[in-house]
Each structure stands twice: as C-alpha cells, then as structure tokens.
Amino acid sequence: MFYALSVVNLEIDEIEISAEVKDISDSSGLSPWQLGMRRFRKGRLGVIALWVVLFYVLVAIFAPFIVRLLNVDPYALDRQAINDFGLPKGPLGSMSWNHPLGVEPGTGRDILGRLIYGTRLSLIIGTVGTVLSTTVGVCLGIVAGLRRGWVDSLISRIGDVALAFPSLLLIIALANPMTQRLESWGVPKGNTAKLTYILTILTIFGWVYMARLVRGQVLSLRERDFVEAARSFGAGTNHLVFKQLLPNLWPQIIIFVAMSLPGYVALEATLSFLGVGFQAPTASWGIMLGDSVRYYRADTAYLFIPGGALLILVLGFNLLADGLRDAFDPRSDRQQL
C-alpha cells in the first residue's frame, strides 16, 4: 500500500512557534490589518504613545482655539513680564497664571502659546513630509515592480543617485538659495517658500527606501497565487494595484511611516538651530531652541521647555513606531537562547 501526498487539510507544518500561533490566529478569520490592530492594542506602551501623539495632533489642529481658551497669545508682547534687561522677571522664565510656561526673554511673548503654535510647524513637516515621500515611494515602487525592465532600472538607478548624496548637508546648503528660487517662481515669500522647499527636498531624498521596500514586495507578491489568479481572470492593473497589492502592503507602509515621522519632526528644529530654518514671526520649536541657547544660563527653563516638548513628541512617535512594528511584523516575537 502506498499513499500519495495529502491534498487538503494537511499543510506544511511550521516549526516556528510564532508561526503556529499565527496560524492559530489566522483561523479566527481576521485580516492582517485587524490582527495587527488587535496586537497593537495589547502593547501598552504603543497605546500610550499613540495618545501622546494624538494629543499633539489635536493641539496642533486646535491651536488657535486652545490659545484663546488659555489666553496665551503667542504674538502678544508683554513688557510687564520682563525686566529692564529683557529677562523674564520671575523664576523659571516668569511662570505664572498668565504665562503657565513663562515668557520669552526680550519680548515677553508667551512660551506656551508659542509652543502650541510651534507644534503645527513640526507636525506639518513631519506628516506632510512623510506622506509625500511615502506616496512617491509607494508609487514608484509599484511601478518599478510591475513594469520591471527599463522602468525598473531607471527608478532604481535614480534611487542610487539620491542615496549617494549627503542629504542633511544638501538640505542645509540649498535651503536659502532654493527658497529664493521658489520665491522667484511665484511661491509666496517667506515661510511658505521655505516649507515648500523643505517638503520637496525631504521627498526627493526620502522616497527611495520606501520604493525599494515596495518594489521588493511587489516582485514577490506578483509571484503569489492570488495575483496570478487575478491576472488570469483578466484583472486590470488598477484592480491589481488597489485591490490586490496595496492591501497587502499596508502593514509595511504603516511601519515605514511611523518610523520616518520622528526624524522629520526633529528636522525642523535642527534646521532652525543651524540657522536655515523658519523665520519670524512664525512660532517654531527650532527658533525657540536656537534662541534659548543665548539665555541658557539665566533662563534655563526656556531651553528645556521646547526641548522637552520636542523630545516627548519624537519619543512618542518612536514608541508608536515600535508598537506598530511589533504588531504588524510578528517576526519580532522570537525565541531565546
């Protein structure tokens, strides 16, 4: 008697414990997305980080409202809060009910108000920068993966070139002249042009990793049965991309976005610190930090407040990214020697 291979229920049994667990969970009939979210909710730190980040986002969105509610106008000068030498009168940068986080030396502008408005700039750069570079990366990655051939080569080579540049150096070096160039092209002068510049150059340097990741995924996905099957049914490229490929790429994209965000958020501050950031009267964390350095002996609170706000936000994003990665990339659930 000689039996052939099994047909239906018996599949390759994976040794990996986590894989078995995955199989078990798969049996619950949840999509990878739902599964990931379920796992994410179980990671306490990730959830806390999410709330922290959400808090910042809400603060940014409702900045004008919050500022009015708390009566902390970021642009109003308060001569009474500073002494004749321009330094905050009270301790800790003149913290008081009127100015919960103290005032800016020199002008007496409210630090809390400026902090709240500064959240906007940092988050705009962080989110828009990430969304742009991710979108471009995903699109180019899909195109490269689907088209292959010379299109793929071209995109990959352009990526090589982009990665060969020292990005931070170029961002700094081109900041002023490129901003002027944008202004000469009709982009509104000042911070709009600067923002446009920063977002553009972040995209130029930021898309490559995402594109490579997506291209790899697409190449391996297209070998998989369901894509082949869809093809054999005559599915169009659109259907393929939006119904078949993208849903499978979501976890990767989410993780990538979460990991890129913190770096971009901190960038605004770094640029302003190096003197190529935004311009007054915009309230920005970077401007505050750059300014605070001049006062860090007499008004240490002024350095720590925007620095702390920045650190907490970046930390929040990083923990969120960790949480998402652990949730969507179960390989991180591993064994121990």
Binding site: Q279, R294, A298
Partner: protein, 588 residues
C-alpha cells in the same frame, strides 16, 4: 553656535572720538573704565594673552581690506604700522594723533592738496629688511585693485588721490598694481611720489585732516614681493612688534613677538606680551561662564564680542568685578532708514517714528546697557560735532510709543498723501532686515507697536551675508543699519549716510524736495576749513536730517567687556571702541 546669528548689520568702520561723553548716563549703566585692569600696574614682561570670541574668524588681516574698528586697532597695535596712529592711552588722549612710521604728523601744502611725510630710520619688516617708501606706495595702490580688495576697505585713496576717472572697475583710470600697464602705473606714481625717506600724496581735493586718513590701515605698507594678492590676508607681513604665526578661520590666530621689530624706530608701541592667541567660534555663553569663573588660563584672557545680555546683571551687580569690567559707548549709532522714494511723505515717516516702541526694542536687546536712545546720527563720543537734535513733536523721551500722536499724524498723512497712507495701512511697508535671532524678536516689536497706530509692516528677512548686497539692489520701505565715524569728523558720518556721494546712502533721497538744500549745505560743510564753523554746519545738518526723518535714529550703542584678573593695560581705546591689544600686559 552663534555664527549663524551674527548680524552682519552694523556697518564696520573705524571710529575716532575726540571727547568722551559723560552725558546722559543713567543709573543702571554708568561708564566704567575697567579699574585696575585698565592700568599697567603690576604688568610684567612676557606671557600669553588669550582672546576669546564667538566669531568664526577675523574679518580680514589684509591692511587694505580691514574696516572694522576693533580690528583696525588690534592689527595696527600689533603687526601693521602706519604713518600716523593714535596715542596708546586710555581716555580722551587716546584720540590724539601721533607720528608712527613718519617722523611727524606730515606737512600739507597751503591748498591742502599735497601732503608729505618723512619716514623714520630703522623701520623693518619681520624678515629684517627695511620698510621703504615704495612699500607704502605699493600698499596704497592695492586699494585700487578691485579684483583683490573688492572694496572691502575704505576707499579714501580712490576719492582723494589725484588720479583721473577712468574705466577700471572702481571707475578710476588706475586699475591697481596687477592690471595696470606702464601708463596707468605712471598715473599712480604721480599721485604718490617717493623721494628717499619722503612720501608725497597729491590729492584732487583739499583735505585738511589727511594725516588722519593715512592712519587707516588702508594706507599701510605691503612689500610687493611678499604680496599674495587675494591671499595676503591669511599671512600678512609684519612691520610691528608682533607677527602672524598662524591664522586659521574657525580655529585660531596666533601672534608672536617679531624679533626683527626695531623698538627704536617705534615711539608708540610698548609691547609686553610674548604671544597673543585668538580663539574663534567659542560659544558666547561659555565665554561668559569662563570669564566669570576666572580660572587658570582664563585669568590671562580678554574677550572680543562683549557680554551676553543675560549676564550683564551678574557682571555689573557684583562689585568684586569692578576692576575687570568696562562699559562704554562703542561709537556706533544704529538707525532705520526709510526708502524716501517709496515713503515720500513726511507725515508717514513721522508717524512711524512716533508709533515705534524704541524702549521695547532696547529691552529686547538687553536694556539700557546696550545703548542710549540716539538723538543724533553722530555718536555722542564725537563731541565736537555732537549735539542732541530736537526730535519730532510728541516723541516720548522714555522711548515708548506715543500711539495717540502717531494716530493723529496718520490722520494728517491721509490728507497729505492718501495713496501712501492707503498702502501703509493696507498692504503695509516692507521692512528689510538681516535674518537673525535678535531681529526675529525686533520685527515682532515693530509689527506690534506700529500696528497699534494702524501702520502695517511686511517682514522681509534677508540672509545676513547678503543683506547689504541685497538692499544695494532691491530696497524695501524700511531698512536697518548702523554707522560710526571713520575719524573725528562728522564728514565721515552725515555725508556718508545721506548725501549724493555717500558711500552708505541707501535712502533713495535724491528725489526728495528737501534734498537739494541739504546737498548744497553738505558741500559747503565739506569745503569749510574752519573746524568750529564746520562743526556748527554738521550739527545743523544733523537737525535737518532729523526734521526730514530720512532715517529713524535708534541707539547710540554701548559695549561691555570683562577681562581676566591678570590682565593689565586693557583700556577702551577710544578711536577703535576696543582694547589697545598690543599694549596689554599680564600681571603675576
């Protein structure tokens, strides 16, 4: 850390102040001379002096390019001697002109168009060779070489020497020593003649104080065979008591004693130190911290760049620092220029002035220590030509805004110049300023205080390094600036800032109805040989400018410094607004 915030704003210029103003000092910030550290008591021979600065480097060491007050004094007292220089003493006498390489203060012809100086015997370069008249002539000729000196230094050689106009880059017939053919060189050689130890300057205009002019380093000698053109500033050849051992921007400048300097030929300099080390790019906060701590090497240290506003209270509140600190006018006046062509309405200009909260601006900069509200474009230390002008009616003396007066003035402007009034209250006036941390705050104050009177401001920050080249071309409605006299005559102030040929006139004011009368009077004042009559004219012209509000005066600025406890002879040298570097000694 600070390099990005340096304001390239204050015009760099040597200053000469004939008298020390004690006027109008307020209680919080009295003039302080530096006490023990200003005298040479206990100073010994030798030692290494350290100079800390947040700046990334010297602006230049090239004598024909340097135009910064402190640097003119520092290089002049150490490695670049000129025909004349200033008496190396504290106080008023520091502004006395003395013969340096020349045997006396020079001889002028009756028409003041020919000046002759005789060189001392025994003048030497750092390699022991003799400093000749030809070296001085060559040095002066370098100013003409636009492709090398690029107009960074003062251009008096161009405007004074009797060389016809021509098609060189500076508009002279003489294009400098490198590009000149024999014919062109002959033009220069005729203007600057050498005869043994005598050097004669032939001028195209009468200049009564040309012997002050030759005290500028632009008239210093350069040995032709050592000239490295554009790179000369990296290693200039010394004829003074110190020589440049090494210079690296962003790192340090090391000056050591020049063994070939002949003390007998130099009646001015009495060097004590062995070595002077400038350390560049040190964080300002760290500098203050080190100076306050006064430990180790920092006892032998002086600072170039002042004290951070946040530390002024500490420094001046502590009596134990009395012997180490100085506080005084630095000779500059800061001001805000109107583009008179676009803001062609006196009422609007006056309204802006009335509405501006100068007190808030000064507080933002650090309060009364940073200066006093200016009442003249001539600094108070230039006592001969200084006289507080009568300012616009209604201006608050404490510097705060007079909003009601400003609003009333705007009402008048509405009738006098409805178009400009509409633009001022609608779109707003464009304000050009260097983009710096200080100005990010200043502009907020401008916007806030003018806004109270209904005047709008369009903020136009410009990269600091490009500020002057930018407003040279495209000018806004308002531009900030600062200026100090080149020597003790308001001829280096009022005409420079407001007249037709003024090298620093950004006002576009030639079309103003009031301009013609002004220019006539300036010409008259320049030609006036009677110094007291001339002073009177300068004072009247200052009042005239104030009345026209072509510019809004800001502050007559002051600077404060703290030196290490071993430092001696570090006095504020009036002509340059900083120490006489070469005269400093160390105790203990």
């Amino acid at each position: 850390m600070k390099h990005n915030r340096i304001i390239a704003a204050i015009a760099t210029a040597g200053i000469f102040l004939s008298a020390c103003g004690g006027s109008g000092m307020n209680a919080q910030s009295g003039e302080e001379s530096g006490g023990r550290s200003a005298s040479l008591d206990g100073a010994q021979d030798g030692g290494t002096l350290h100079v800390l600065t947040f700046q990334e480097g010297a602006s230049t060491l090239d004598p024909q390019r340097v135009y910064t007050g402190a640097e003119l004094g520092a290089w002049g007292s150490t490695f670049t001697r000129t025909l004349t220089s200033y008496q190396p003493v504290a106080g008023e006498d520091g502004t006395n002109l003395v013969a340096d390489m020349a045997t006396d203060l020079g001889t002028a012809s009756d028409d003041l168009k020919t000046w002759t100086f005789t060189l001392r015997d025994g003048l030497t370069w750092e390699d022991g060779s003799e400093v000749t008249c030809a070296d001085i002539a060559y040095g002066v000729s370098r100013t003409f070489a636009a492709e090398v000196t690029a107009g960074e230094g003062p251009l008096y050689a161009l405007s004074y020497l009797n060389i016809p106009e021509g098609d060189s880059d500076f508009g002279s017939a003489y294009p400098g020593p490198w590009l000149a053919d024999e014919e062109q060189q002959a033009l220069f050689d005729a203007a600057v003649q050498c005869d043994g130890q005598n050097i004669t300057f032939n001028l195209q205009v009468p200049v009564a104080d040309f012997n002050y002019t030759v005290g500028l380093l632009a008239f210093a000698p350069v040995p032709k065979d050592k000239d490295t053109a554009d790179q000369y500033g990296l290693a200039p050849f010394s004829n003074g008591p110190f020589r440049v051992e090494s210079y690296e921007e962003g790192v340090e400048l090391v000056l050591v004693r020049n063994e070939n300097w002949n003390a007998d030929s130099d009646p001015v300099r009495k060097p004590l130190l062995d070595e002077i080390i400038w350390q560049f790019g040190v964080d300002e906060a760290v500098i203050d911290e080190r100076m306050l701590a006064d430990a180790g090497e920092d006892k032998n240290t002086i600072v170039y760049g002042g004290i951070l506003p946040e530390n002024l209270q500490t420094v001046f509140g502590d009596d134990s620092l009395k012997d180490r600190r100085t506080d005084g006018f630095d000779g500059f006046v800061s001001y805000t220029m109107f583009n008179v062509e676009t803001v062609n309405c006196l009422e609007v200009r006056q309204a802006v002035w009335l509405a501006l909260d100068r007190e808030a601006l000064r507080t933002a900069a650090g309060g009364p220590f940073t200066g006093e509200f200016a009442t003249s474009f001539v600094a108070p230390l230039l006592a001969a030509d200084y006289e507080p002008a009568k300012l616009v009616d209604g201006l608050n003396e404490d510097g705060t805004a007079n909003v009601e007066a400003a609003i009333a003035m705007m009402e008048k402007a509405k009738e006098a110049c409805p178009d400009l009034h509409a633009r001022t209250t609608g779109e707003g006036l464009r304000f050009d300023h260097p983009d710096s941390a200080t100005w990010q705050k200043n502009i907020a104050i401008w916007i806030d205080s003018l806004g109270a009177a209904g005047i709008k401001i369009i903020d136009n920050p410009i990269e600091p390094s490009k500020y002057y080249s930018s407003i040279n071309g495209d000018r806004g409605d308002l531009m900030r600036a600062g200026w100090a006299a080149d020597w003790a005559n308001a001829s280096t102030v009022i005409p420079e800032l407001f007249s037709k040929d003024g090298g620093f006139n950004y006002h576009n004011n030639e079309g103003d109805p009031a301009f013609a009368a002004f220019q006539t009077k300036v010409d008259e004042a320049k030609a006036e040989t009677d110094r007291s009559k001339q002073s009177k004219l300068w004072k009247e012209l200052n009042q005239y400018v104030m009345d026209q509000v072509w510019s809004i005066p800001g502050s007559a600025t002051k600077s404060q410094n703290l030196v290490g406890s071993n430092v001696r002879g570090a006095y504020q040298w009036k002509p340059f607004g900083w120490y006489n570097l070469g005269a400093i000694g160390l105790a203990g």
